[in-house]
């Protein structure tokens, strides 16, 4: 037994989930600290899930001012102009999340994710990057990897009815139940940069097309100097041109990535709330799994597409 016991209040509140993951896992959850940035629909769902689960603290980072666009799929923002005027997304979401579970410490930090120093990330066990550019994701991932302690790193993006989760746990040990035995297992994760620059040719053909499509969009936004998610149908010709180049560069056929999928991704600038709920749910589950150290974690990409309804794990490493 590690640490102190759960209080009577905690046991009563968390009764149903302790029956799923045990009191030890619940204690570990209550001591964990999670950093969350980019609070759109999917990340709002994720925040709700881990606050309900009873993590120790959640720190929110999102300096965007609240506008009508922000509460599209985000139920943490009430559409009351008097209440949100002049406030940031993080401030408003913080107030809502506090209500969900008084036992979780919810707070905000200000600043630009890409310029925060390595030390900043030391305080956290889990870092979630929602809706950021490839460069920011890469920078934060590298900072987390420089720390002595292991910080679980996740990125999440949702475009229309599609979504992607990336996971980097560096070297991760976990226990798995096999029949009646408990076996120790170890996984080695590639960094974000490594995982997104794997050559396409050797990747098995049945791999989710979304992996490749997301790389095209990511690259398009980077070269065009767009903010993440700032694409529209007008950009489709440019995106298709880039796809052609990338496919040629990787010596794979152009059919490798269906045009229709890219079309859906560029036009999907409003979030699809059911997809947010699903991807935010999977991400919540993964984070809980990793904090509690129970069960095999997702390695290293997860894709959901509401079009075919599949939720698929892809392991993409060198």
């Amino acid at each position: 037994m590690d640490g102190e016991e759960l209080t009577e209040q905690e046991t009563a509140l968390y009764d149903r989930q302790i029956r799923v993951w045990g009191a030890g896992a619940q204690r570990r959850l209550s001591k964990s600290h999670v950093l969350v940035s980019g609070i759109k629909g999917t990340v709002a769902e994720f925040c709700k899930n881990i606050v309900l689960a009873g993590v120790g603290s959640v720190t929110l980072l999102d300096d965007r001012l609240v506008t009508e666009e922000a509460f599209n799929a985000n139920f943490l923002i009430l559409p009351d102009e008097n209440a949100y005027a002049g406030k940031t997304v993080a401030e408003i979401c913080c107030d809502s999340l506090k209500e969900f579970n008084p036992m979780v410490h919810v707070s905000i930090e200000k600043g630009d994710l890409s310029t925060l120093g390595v030390d900043f990330f030391e305080k956290f066990d889990v870092v979630i990057i929602g809706y950021s550019s490839r460069a920011t994701k890469k920078a934060v991932n590298e900072k987390c990897r420089k720390l002595k302690k292991r910080v679980a790193f996740y990125t999440v993006d949702c475009r229309g009815s599609c979504g992607e989760i990336f996971v980097d746990l560096q070297n991760y040990n976990y226990t798995k139940k096999k029949l009646d035995e408990t076996v120790e297992c170890e996984l080695t994760f590639p960094s974000f940069e490594e995982a997104v620059s794997v050559p396409w040719k050797p990747i098995p053909r049945r791999t989710a097309k979304l992996y490749f499509a997301m790389r095209v969009i990511e690259r398009f936004e980077e070269t065009e100097g767009r903010k993440p998610g700032e694409c529209s149908l007008f950009d489709l010709p440019g995106v298709l041109k880039l796809k052609k180049e990338l496919c040629e560069g990787n010596s794979v056929s152009e059919n490798h990535i269906p045009d229709s999928l890219l079309e859906r991704l560029v036009s999907g600038n409003t979030e699809f709330p059911p997809a947010c709920a699903i991807i935010g749910g999977i991400l919540g589950q993964e984070v809980i799994k990793v904090i509690s150290g129970k069960g095999e974690p997702l390695k290293n990409f997860f894709y959901f597409d509401a079009e075919d309804g599949k939720g698929v794990i892809e392991d993409i490493s060198q």
Binding site: R16, R19, P274
Partner: protein, 624 residues
């Protein structure tokens, strides 16, 4: 534009949600965010503390209030301009009839029990409204689409029968902790604090019938002036001591079994408990409600702690004392309730002492409560995922995107890389008595069984009818309803007590009965076959309904259209022609082994996948 068309389908839709619990809260939120503007929600439950870890629309201050109403108010805060109507009521109430259901474009279930699910299934079939059904337990979940004539109905596949235990396992030869729990809850607790007129198999019949049943009955009677502690010790010695001795005298029983050890209070407890500050005066006070509990006065705090034999024995005596000292009025009409702290303490202690006798590992109060109360394992994330999948299917239904309907499993561990696994819906089962007209077969002793047995054990318990009517040819044998006159009621009551072959229109071998439920607009035919004998252990109901139950060997879902048991096979496109013969069993894809008590997954709580009626365990046990 597809997107615009989708938005207008959503905006114009009128949706009924049944259930505002774990799935319901998530579903209402996701529906509102997705642009639904006319949502009706029915739930009879009120909010409890143990809901708050996942039913995120509720706060501590809402405990005790209507789930449907609080959920509505909470969602209106972030979507003030939509119409949500809440009903704090049972979906089985007569006001929710076929006409009520007809006003909706789609019905979405987030229910917690088989009974209500079957009822809603029938109303949706009768009203010809599409139904999206769902369930979760732990990290597992599923969503299915049911459309009359196009996909299977909720009852096309028989549901796994609830786990029942042979009577003798419970009364004499327990081998698992759950057997001790069933004994403590359904026999001992019921005997001491429940209805005295109920049959009870608590006493072991020994071979040398020295102890007449009259004599043993007296053990449980407490005379007015009898000291409560003395009485408690007497009960203790009887059920854990002499009853075990009596059982040991049946040598035959123990030939191939480990012999249990009788336990007497004097060997475990001190002479007098008074110095143990066993104060029946002070009871713990939590959250302003006074909760009678044996634990505080014994210095026990942690419900997850494992108590030894002595601690269990102390809890047993103290809990029993408290029932007599603090809750005397309730004695004689108590039934076990998982939220009744003292009852849980008593049952935990009794089950553990019995487990000790039989060398079965002991369990904590927390674990025992889960087993005794059939508490479901529930987490927020699974409910959120399932709610998202429900909305995706609901939108397809509204757009009449028939080719795209899917049933989806949410798995804990990936199967072929998938955590969310969609498969094509099954076609209706042509042998389903609910959505097709296939008659059922009933083997019954028509010269012994009464009409009441048929009504209770078959029509209500198995066919799930709420307001049944039974006809034999042109003769009406039984019906219920508010509009019946006294003479009719008297007539039907008289019929209930009659043996089938002696009814005004005798039911004999070869009779064909028509059974209907007017509220559910369900009608089915039953072919009666007379049979003289039934196996008491295997067929405790004394009747066998066919075309309804799967073979007793299978305890998962079974596709009755086929004998092949093919596990789910999902290839890139599973558009094979044999979909209806595919067998899908979640347990085969994914062993669900969160907890040792998977064998009794019934629950009255929410968020459960395949639910059964927990009452059946106690009903069955009485038969012998």
């Amino acid at each position: 534009m597809a997107a615009l068309q989708q938005q207008s389908a959503i905006k114009g839709a009128k949706v009924l949600m049944v259930g505002a619990g774990g799935i319901g809260c998530e579903l209402l939120k996701t529906l509102a965010l997705s642009g639904f503007e006319d949502i009706h929600i029915i739930d009879m439950d009120t909010i409890e503390v143990s809901n708050l870890n996942r039913q995120f629309l509720f706060r501590r201050s809402h405990v005790g209030q209507s789930k449907a109403k609080v959920a509505r108010d909470a969602v209106l805060r972030f979507r003030p301009n939509i119409n949500i109507r809440s009903y704090h009521a049972n979906v089985k109430n007569p006001e929710f009839d076929v006409d009520f259901f007809k006003q909706f474009d789609v019905v979405l279930n987030g229910l917690d029990n088989l009974d209500a699910r079957r009822h809603v299934n029938r109303l949706c079939l009768a009203a010809e409204v599409p139904l999206v059904e769902s369930g979760t337990t732990g990290f597992l979940g599923q969503v299915t689409v049911h459309i009359k004539g196009k996909t299977e109905c909720y009852e096309c596949q028989t549901k796994p029968a609830p786990k029942t235990y042979p009577v003798c396992t419970i009364t004499s030869t327990p081998t698992k902790f759950v057997h001790c729990i069933v004994w403590a809850k359904d026999l001992l607790f019921a005997k001491l604090f429940g209805d005295k007129n109920q049959d009870n198999d608590l006493n072991v019949r020994s071979n040398n019938s020295a102890s007449s049943s009259k004599e043993t009955e007296d053990v449980f009677e407490r005379s007015e002036d009898e000291d409560i502690e003395q009485y408690g010790r007497k009960i203790y010695d009887h059920v854990f001591g002499s009853n075990i001795e009596a059982a040991l005298s049946n040598e035959e029983t123990w030939k191939n079994r480990k012999r249990p050890r009788p336990i007497y209070s004097k060997d475990v407890l001190p002479e007098s408990l008074d110095q143990q500050n066993g104060s029946t005066q002070n009871c713990s006070v939590t959250d302003g409600d006074s909760v009678v509990s044996a634990m505080p006065s014994l210095g026990l705090k942690n419900p997850q702690e494992l108590w030894g034999l002595t601690q269990n024995s102390l809890v047993f005596i103290e809990a029993l004392k408290l029932f007599f000292a603090k809750r005397k009025k309730e004695i004689g009409h108590l039934t076990f309730d998982k939220d009744d702290q003292l009852a849980v303490e008593f049952v935990t202690a009794a089950a553990n002492i019995r487990a000790e006798s039989f060398e079965i590992p002991l369990h904590s109060l927390f674990e025992a409560k889960g087993i005794a109360g059939n508490i479901v394992h529930a987490v927020a994330t699974t409910n959120a995922i399932i709610a998202g999948l429900i909305v995706i299917e609901a939108i397809k239904v509204l757009k009449k995107d028939e080719d795209k309907y899917r049933m989806t499993y949410c798995l804990e561990h990936p199967s072929r890389k998938m955590l969310l696994m969609p498969i094509e819906p099954y076609e209706p089962n042509p042998a389903c008595y609910v959505c097709s007209e296939t008659p059922l077969g009933l083997e019954i002793n028509t010269r012994k069984s009464k009409l009441r047995d048929l009504v209770d054990r078959i029509v209500k318990a198995k066919l799930g009818m709420n307001l049944p009517l039974i006809m034999h040819g042109a003769s009406l044998l039984y019906e219920v309803g508010d509009d019946l006159d006294d003479i009719m009621v008297a007539n039907y009551n008289a019929n209930l007590e009659k043996v089938l072959s002696e009814l005004p229109s005798p039911i004999v071998n070869g009779s064909i009965l028509t059974v209907e439920d007017l509220q559910q607009e369900l009608s089915c035919k039953i072919n009666v076959k007379h049979r003289e004998e039934f196996d008491e252990e295997k067929e405790p109901e004394g009747m066998v309904l066919s075309g309804w139950t799967p073979s007793p060997a299978t305890n998962g879902e079974s596709a009755s259209t086929s004998n092949n048991e093919i596990p789910v096979d999902v290839t890139e496109s599973s558009s094979g022609s044999e979909t209806a013969s595919k067998k899908r069993r979640l347990s085969e894809i994914e062993p669900c082994n969160h907890k040792k008590e998977t064998e009794n997954v019934e629950s009255e709580d929410d968020d459960i996948m395949e639910i059964e009626n927990p009452m059946i365990v106690s009903k069955k046990i009485r038969v012998e």
